[in-house]
Amino acid sequence: MSMRDDSKWFTDAGLLLEAVCKTSTHWGQLPDIPGYDELVEIRRGGQGVVYRGRQRSTNRTVAIKVLLDGVYASNVSRQRFQREMQIAARLRDPHIVRIYDSGVTADGRLFYAMEYVQGASIDCAGLKIGNNLTRTLTLFAKICDAVQYAHQRGIIHRDLKPGNILIEGAVASVDDDSSHTDYGLGPRTDVVHPKILDFGLAKVVFDETEGVAALTRVSQTGQFLGSLAFASPEQIEGTSDRIDTRTDVYSLGAILYQLLTGQLPHSVHQNLRQTLNDITTTAPPRPRSIRADLPNDVETMVLRCLAKEPERRYQTAGDLAADIRRFLAGKPIDAKRDQTWYVLRKTLARYKAITALAVVMFVLLVGYAITMPLLYQRAREAERRTLEEVASTQALNNFLVGMLQKSSPELASSREMTVREMLDQAAERLGEKPELPPQVAVGIHRVIAGTYGKLGHLDESESGMRRALEIARTTFGTGDVKAAALMRDLGEILWYRGRFEEAEQLLTEAMAVYEHAADDEALRSEYGLCLFSMAHIHGSRGRPEKAVESYRRAIDLIQGDTVAKRFQRVMARTGLATTLFEQGQFKEAGRQYLETLAEAREKLGDDHAVVATILTHLGRYHTEMEEFDEAESCLSEAMEIYRKRLDPKHARVGTVLARLGNLKSSQGDFESAERFWRDAQAIYVRSFDEDHEKVVGIKLNLAQSREMQKDYAGAAREYRLALESYRRRLGDKDPRTAILRSKLAIPLSELGELEEAEEELRGALAVLNTALSENDPRTAKTLIWLGRVLLKRQNPEEAEPMIRRGIDMLKAGLPAGHSWVALAENALGECLALLGRYEEAETYLLRSWKVIEMRYDSTHEFSRAVFSNICGLYERWGKPDKIAEWCEKSTDP
């Protein structure tokens, strides 16, 4: 039917519906984005569509931008896009919209997932005329800070414009008579929260084409005119090698120009050639010619940004921010004072040094403001109380003044001091001050020791804490709560360093103190914290049931809604999840992790180190569940948080590296795995004893990797080394020693040392049967391995019940189709074939094959093992045609 000439096509329901069906966009049709769900469309723009959605692996709400077809269409530009997004994802600034992830949708469009910000862009928010100059400039300085932050990390935006700056919490006001009457932003500047979008996105386009052509490319994906008005002369000229951070300074100037005057520096409403010419050669109208009430200094700042030659602009966005703040503080701006440059710089440098010192002192005193890793979960109020007491004394005052004098720019070397150096000086100075009142000395020792610990310097941390405890014990007595808090701190450090016995003793002592004061609300929380530390020790000493119980009680006891308390509760829940996980209660553990992660994000913020800790655990969980993509996304987010917050040699960074190694090895990429493990090892040996769990853990990983690469002699060697450590530290009755013995048995059996392998496995089983809970997968694996060794020793009768029991135990905890179960069923099939029960054997082997074939390619050792068992079965059974049929399936000759 032709609808031509039918100007009232929409009044006929049939015709209208026909037209609706031909229309490409419909309600309820959402893209399929791997790893994300709960999509809701929130914005549609020139570049693509933005959805709100949930990232499944981390359970967080994100905004997902799905680019239009044809944007970055070639393969090369797709790869570049993903690479740039990975780089941009490293930016962590409160005023930059964070990028979490990028990829390709099921129908082949590029997407990236970012932080979900509720708000509107600076132009849509009705923010136009700077009718409140102070407010506009304060907001703008924040934007400059964020740009500076990205520049310091080597990322240039290249497409800064009002549309790329969101105002959090603002409401869009695109209406008929939007005459930009007011900001609509609320009355106070300090609540206005700008967020810059699309960092890194423009690089791909700009790099691939040149100049105006580049702009046109940007524009085809979106607001050409919006971009053009804010593009710098060097961008227009197409000299992409001249594009640097000062290009963004120009754009910032153009944005500020528009915010203040309501007009663009150069009109884009004329002939295009003329517009381009203006941008490259003509000076913009002076802002004061449009708004006479603008202060001279502000005009100077704006015009300096808009200089044609990059050399004449502010050299960094930070310089611009600083000048704006100088203006706001009523001080002369830098843009005007080139002649007094020397004097100024000198003064400025001194100020900077003093600022740095102030920062360090802040770290020392309020140390816990740097988000802290697991090390010490102590009551923040208690600490604050102590610190307040301390700060009130003249003694502390003198101490600080002395330190500041010692580190003043005149006396110190020219470079700025590191926190570590400050700590060393503080510790040294503390030693020289025997006259300090003991409560002051205890407080300072504790803070310094705590900060050392957070920086990963465990020796210094331990000795400082011991010194504090010693003073507290002699001053206040062993039964005093101040001493008890230090016992817990020290206990926690000792646990972390693997010295469980002393740690347990200290914690028991501390708990006894709190038990006496059980009526006090605050002390009940302290008691909860001790239980929490104790739960770690139970876990490490192979008492998972006790650990679970202690964690649960700790979660109940740690009350209160301060940041510190939320943090401690989250940590206790994480500990609980990990213990459940290690016991093989995977579903419950997974649930706990996800809930805890959501709680941590909500209560503590996405960037909190605890979020990273939970993500590290969750990464391990996903790895074991063979959900590799999720694992990788958790671990890389954790790494990013730690990179930002901790020293790169911090033990926690080592943990993430180790987990990444595990992930890679689970994926069969042993080379990368070993690299990660060795990096982790290099970090661990700085912080831990030779026999520490973590150091030994890496040896175990290496052993396992050797084993998977069939270097059984190498594997046995590494396992034996690790086993020696365990026997020294834990003794033979410890379940961890037992597990290690069962692991050693695997390469031994491969090397044909069957007798020794059987002995190790039986020894291990004797311990594990009593030490671990009923369906622990580690006991199950030991059973199955013992079964396999017995098979090799031609004893299928004894092997069968063992393997069957192992399979039942595994099935109790693992999801259906897990490769462990499949491999165990493979062993059972082999066993039944040996026993002549061919039909039964066939069922198990084929089932095993189905799972293994799906997960591994045909050359993988697992596939080959199952394959050869199947052929073996048919050979015994006398079915050569079946063998031929199967051999055809094999791609590996």
Binding site: S2, M3, R4, S7, W9, F10, T11, A13, L16, L17, A19, V20, C21, K22, T23, S24, T25, H26, W27, G28, Q29, R44, G45, G46, L68, D69, G70, A73, D123, C124, K161, P162, G163, A172, V174, D175, D176, S178, T216, S219, Q220, T221, G222, Q223, F224, L225, G226, A229, G262, Q263, L264, S267, V268, H269, Q270, N271, L272
Partner: protein
Amino acid sequence: MSYTTPIRLLNRLAGDIDPTAWAEFHRRYLDLIRGFAHRHGLQPADCDDVAQDVFVALSQSLSGFQYDPKKGKFRSYLKTLAIRAINRKLRQKYERRVQCDIEDEQNEVSCTFDGEAWEDEWRQYHIRLAMGRLTGEFNERDRMAFTQYAVLGQSAAETAEALGMSLDQVYQAKSRILKRLAERISQQVEEEG
């Protein structure tokens, strides 16, 4: 988000630079122009170029522009710009091809423009615009029901079961949404002048 009529939008574009208006304009007409270009055999990237050309040409002609319906319809003007841009693109492609492949010389450069194609795209543009404006008026379930039943041709019973609605609710959703669509489009067409 409230709705700006095309005439008001054009007048805003003609005045001071107003990135919001440009963004809105872009959002609204991009698919229309791309779709039209696509129907003339252009690849997605070329369709983007065509849309870009149209926007640039429009921005240049809009300076100091005051819309006067007597001088012709905006939609006809937009169509003219689109046809010009498509022709230019086809010519470019042809020239490039001639340079690298002499034998292909006989290929048609310019194509006959299909008036029905433009009308079709224009109708779709109105439908998209109206649907966008109606999104907030209906709840998600009704919108899903409409998509599944009326658009994708699923049976009413299946739709009702999948969405946990009664049959009656499914029918209702379809007829209410169609009715509102017709009203909206009628208003849009009128405002277009």
